[in-house]
Amino acid sequence: MEIRSMHFKANAATALANPVLQGNLRTSKGKFVDKRRAAIADFQAEGGDFEALREAGRDLRNRVLENLDLWLEKFESTATARGAAVLWAKDGAEICRHVIDIGKRHGVTKAVKSKSMLSEEAGLNQALEAAGIQPVETDLGEYILQINDNEPPSHIIAPVVHKGLDEVADLFARVHRKPRKTGIPELTREAREVLRSHFLTAEMGISGGNFLVAETGSVALVTNEGNGRMVTTLPRVHVVITGIEKVIPTLEDLALLLRLLPRSATGQHISNYVSLLTGVKQPDEHDGPEHLYFILVDNGRAGLVGSEFQDMLRCIRCGACMNHCPVYQTIGGHAYGWVYPGPMGSVLTPLYTGIENAIDLPHAATLCNQCGVVCPVKIPLPELLRKLREKQVEQRLRPLGERLALKAWAWVASKPKLYALGTRIGVRYLDWLAGGGKAIRVLGVVPAWTEGRDFPAPEGKTFRELYARRQKP
């Protein structure tokens, strides 16, 4: 996907001024946050220990990363033993090459897709179209985006959280050329009918993979709509595109992660459908793909192994971090400018696309840690964001004014007498700006503060000078 993260500030401003987006964000926040909380409360009421589960999830993911090379080799061997082909892709371009290659080999003219964020990273749909293969998104949210001129998703679980009902109704009426529907059930039914014919005629199904199970050589797909099952049952070719960090050891590990993922993502105890797919259709079977391909993708992931950012590879793509992030809740996902928004996107985008392409993202956070406390695998997101800020400082990517200001503050603060003098002058200046009133309306030194709020007036003297005065007999 084209990177637009360098326009974060402008995009954020646009988002703030968009009343429809603001309304949608308000409603969706309540739903995601409340549902997750309710699901965990239910779980606890049944004697479940969600905190212990989070720790177990973190430990499991860490254990895999310690021997990731061996786990990947294990998966490759168990998957191929069941008749799947395992391919490797260094980057997005290679993903596209592999898929097109497979498509041409099997005479594919249409491919139905269930959700794959990696295919977004790779810009796969455009590449397929250019190669004469028609891609059809079947996840309702992704489908809506596709027919809206390939608009990018704004959330990793709920891709059209930014859209209202009317927008979707207008879009369907225009593209499907049918009478405009007004209710969400009617729109959903219309999508079901339109997409059903595609499921039945596509030669290839493309999916992501929530987890790869090394023990059995299987892929686990976690979905609600049934499109994931359609895409992996009906067409004769199935291609799974997934990151190398998605491998897990056993079926028991899958059960553990399935207690964490749906609750954290949508507040469900389990997603409607969990499919564990292993190998190809047997000669006496009615359905299933005759050919199964796994594309194991790097695209930046291998580089995080053994680095100070390795913890980020634990991510199971639940979206809880962005649901609880005050910044995401205020500006939505598009402002982040790439595939992944919110806290996890602010960590991954600079790491996967280049730190200089996403300078603002690690700073567009208050480090409140609302994300970290809900992450099902306990990724210390604020710490990773801060480390990215450090990298920017090391690589001299921060604006000169900011670098000097921080250094100057530290220098002055290390010299008590100079600091005392500076703050005494500073506080009198602020007092003067307040003009005897209670607040400063325009704070020239940092206008960004006073654009949206006042700056309360200081008392007029510093604590240190007042205290020193009181200590004198």
Partner: protein
């Protein structure tokens, strides 16, 4: 007990009365309070800004200055967290300073946590009367576990009626330099916090971190609310003098 007060740069500059209120409370708890004269800043702005070198410079200064006290108390969750939880890692490469940072860390407390869990303050000197709603500052809450402590102390004032706001634990949008780097987004988050706080109809919004309080107060006034007061929990507990 011989306590050093880490007054914090924001309190020093903007609201000295919070510092004096903290002293009054600590003395009411029977502590001898010392205010190291050369103190300035804990270094969090540099640390969060990614400038480790500057942050380490200030960390060493603080460690040296606050050596030799039984406890160090700060009327701020974020400053207490910086010294307690971040200094050791920041100085991990230097064994001597690392050791000193670890030794200091265990003695550092946020004010309300100190008063409840260490000093076990029985009665508070203040006499506040009115309705209050409490904002839980992020670092204090999530890094230091400050939640119950201020409420326990406020409950000791017979005249206080505590009303919990929706989203009390949600970020107010301050985030240090975030408030000026992304001023518009920050103000929009602050607006939600103010709406939640005002929803309770409380007379006063109270919190434990001055950065948050300046942010909330500034937004309230810009929204046209000149009557809701915004106070630090130390001020409410210590009363006027």
């Amino acid at each position: 007990m011989r306590i050093a007060l880490f007054v914090t740069c924001l309190v020093d500059l903007m609201r000295p009365r919070i510092g004096f209120a903290a002293i009054r409370l600590l003395e009411a708890a029977g502590c001898e309070v010392v205010v190291p004269a050369g103190q300035t800043c804990c270094g969090q702005p540099a640390f969060n800004g990614g400038d480790r070198a500057s942050a380490a410079l200030l960390a060493k200064k603080v460690i040296a200055e606050f050596d030799g006290f039984e406890y160090v108390v700060a009327p701020s969750g974020s400053c207490a967290d910086q010294i307690r939880n971040e200094y050791p890692g920041l100085l991990a490469d230097d064994p001597e300073w690392h050791g000193r940072a670890v030794a200091l860390a265990s003695r550092v407390h946020e004010l309300t946590d100190f008063l409840v869990n260490v000093a076990r303050l029985d009665r508070v000197p203040g006499d506040f009367s009115g309705s209050i709603t409490y904002h839980d500052s992020c670092t204090g809450l999530r890094s230091l576990g400050i939640k119950r402590q201020p409420r326990e102390l406020l409950a000791k004032l017979p005249g206080v009626e505590l009303r919990e706001m929706p989203g009390a634990e949600e970020c107010c949008g301050f985030g240090g330099t975030f408030s000026v780097k992304f001023g518009e987004v920050s103000a929009a988050i602050a607006e939600k916090k103010c709406a939640n706080a005002c929803f309770t109809g409380a007379d006063v919004i109270v919190g434990g971190d001055l950065g948050c309080l300046l942010n909330i107060e500034g937004k309230l006034r810009r929204m046209g609310d000149e009557t809701t007061r915004v106070l630090h929990v130390a001020e409410v507990l210590a009363g006027d003098r």
